[in-house]
Subunit: 188 residues, 4 copies
DNA sequence: CATGAATGAGCGTTCATTCAT
DNA sequence: GATGAATGAACGCTCATTCAT
């Protein structure tokens, strides 16, 4: 049963889990997720072997969605700064448009139910951004730092920026720019 | 007072909680914390009214410990860069020397059992660093950003740096310096 | 609906609760009730939301059972004395035949978990007896007393009588008659 | 240590227990009773071996107090009806003046922690009333009923009457009289 | 003798998972 | 495959009782 037929139901569960995690944290009962998804209690377990399995898949899917949003429409021929700026903007827009997904993701990222395998897979999902970053830092002050460190710094700055954009939406655009400028100063 | 409340025991519970949170997350059973502390099940509740109370106090204590480690021996007359560098080093040393505390803190920070009051108190604990930061950014590119944003960026960079220092201890010193340089570029 | 909620099981839990309350009072552990009912620990809570809920429902059911036993086969055209005598006899027979139910009921009646709503509903259950009483006392010495008082007196006499019938079963019939005669003297 | 020196403390605990039982039922924690009595947690157990012991002694004391209130100033030479009426009035006055004691007593009476021995001793306390009753019923319709039954009936009527006097204090006097008349009709 | 911290069994309730229907 | 009742281990917390101070 490599994947049960009804993908709609699977997606409904994923979406429900996202919502419920936001309100109830990682201890959200599977029964509540199932109910929110309009599905019976036990049906959840025909789509996901365990609760941890659901969480891992959700984590991966959210990360992938985020990455693909960030990379959408990347102007591959533009200058590097321009490209990164584009990614940054898309990324921030995603965060602001999907606050629930971001919050669920934050919770999941910190969970110890998420396996190293899932984390690695999620990481891969951002490979596109990684490559761009690689080219940018090549001549900058971080040229000798491990790539993972550079990515971590970018993620950290992105997270801080998102928090402020969500927290103070009136000045979201400014915060977005300030965040990007800070990142650029770090990298080049 | 017969058999006064024993500070050693309180500390043992705090330390045990730190350890158990690392291995079991926020769902760390109180019974396990008590056992780890060498104390009876119910004794935990003579020192802390509820599990949430324990977690809030632990959160505050860990944050305060971290802040005071960072600020210890601050060369108040040195140049600002020198001062921040000192804080940064001490901070990183604390993180590397107390990986369990840092991990527990990360979990606690994300818990919704931690009250706004505790968060505010914990924040105050870092006031010294905040002031330093304030003076540093006054003439830099972030002079118009909200202070909270600046702090968030610093925390984000610090966390990323710590992760790499812990992950790759051989080059800890280098990572520490790279992180600091990045921070400095962001601020000035 | 897969495996519909089983009325037998519900009844088994009710009966078990009755028995356990007799031996352990209102602090009867739910786990013991479940075991006595031959049901898992947690299953009790698929039939009753809380222990208090179980107790309220049990209270109501026992009272209703008692009332319907008392009113069964009421000779509605007979003289009032005859009717009351009939109710009294049936009532006493119920008490003697179901000593556990009576004891559980006594405990429940005194519990502060039983809500006013349940008490009111239980009261309604005895409305038939109330009406009869109403007609009887209309021309008697209690014609000006509040109806509630009259009912309370009847209940009090009934309880005393039941106690003696149970305590001294050999003379149960005589006690039953003595009790009734006392009641009749009070009322008319 | 047939009786610890400090009778005041013992009495304070008894009084506290009375109050706490009213508000919290028989599951009132001993710690709460101790606190209410202004006494340490563990001190309670130097005055009473166990919680059950406290409850038994309290039960006995309350019953004795009630009985002695009822018998106080008994006009031993008056007519029997007059004597009973006097007892009845005093009894009702006691109930109305000490609602907490009465309520605690009601709870205790139903508890299965109260031993048969305590119940017997409490019963003896009412011997004075019993003798009066004995003489009254000697020529009445209950002349052949067991004495215990007669006492039970009286208690039952008394309880019902008290409930109404407390519930509807405006007409307390009338309810008192109605109750007595009912009793008299039962007895003679 | 007073105190109150220490103890640990016990309780009501929850919940991931299984399985009869 | 879908359903939801059944299961029982686990949890946070309480409390009568003990005992070090």
């Amino acid at each position: 049963m490599a994947r049960p037929k009804d993908d709609d139901k699977r997606n409904a569960i994923m979406a429900a889990a996202t919502r419920v995690i936001v309100t109830r944290g990682l201890s959200a009962p599977t029964a509540m997720i199932a109910q929110e998804a309009g599905v019976a209690n036990g049906s959840l377990f025909t789509y996901f072997e365990t609760k941890a399995d659901l969480f891992n898949q959700l984590y991966l899917e959210l990360k992938a969605g985020m990455a693909s949003a960030a990379l959408e429409g990347l102007p591959a021929r533009a200058e590097l700064r321009e490209q990164l700026s584009h990614v940054w903007s898309k990324w921030m827009v995603w965060a602001v448009s999907h606050p629930e997904k971001r919050r669920a993701l934050a919770q999941l990222a910190v969970s110890d139910e998420i396996t190293p395998v899932s984390r690695a897979a999620a990481h891969k999902t951002m490979a596109g951004i990684g490559e761009l970053l690689e080219r940018i830092r090549a001549n900058g002050p971080l040229r000798n730092a491990p790539m993972g460190f550079v990515v971590a710094i970018m993620n950290a700055l992105a997270d801080a920026t998102m928090d402020f954009m969500v927290q103070d939406p009136t000045n979201a655009d400014r915060h977005c720019r300030v965040g990007f400028d800070a990142l650029w100063r770090v990298l080049s």
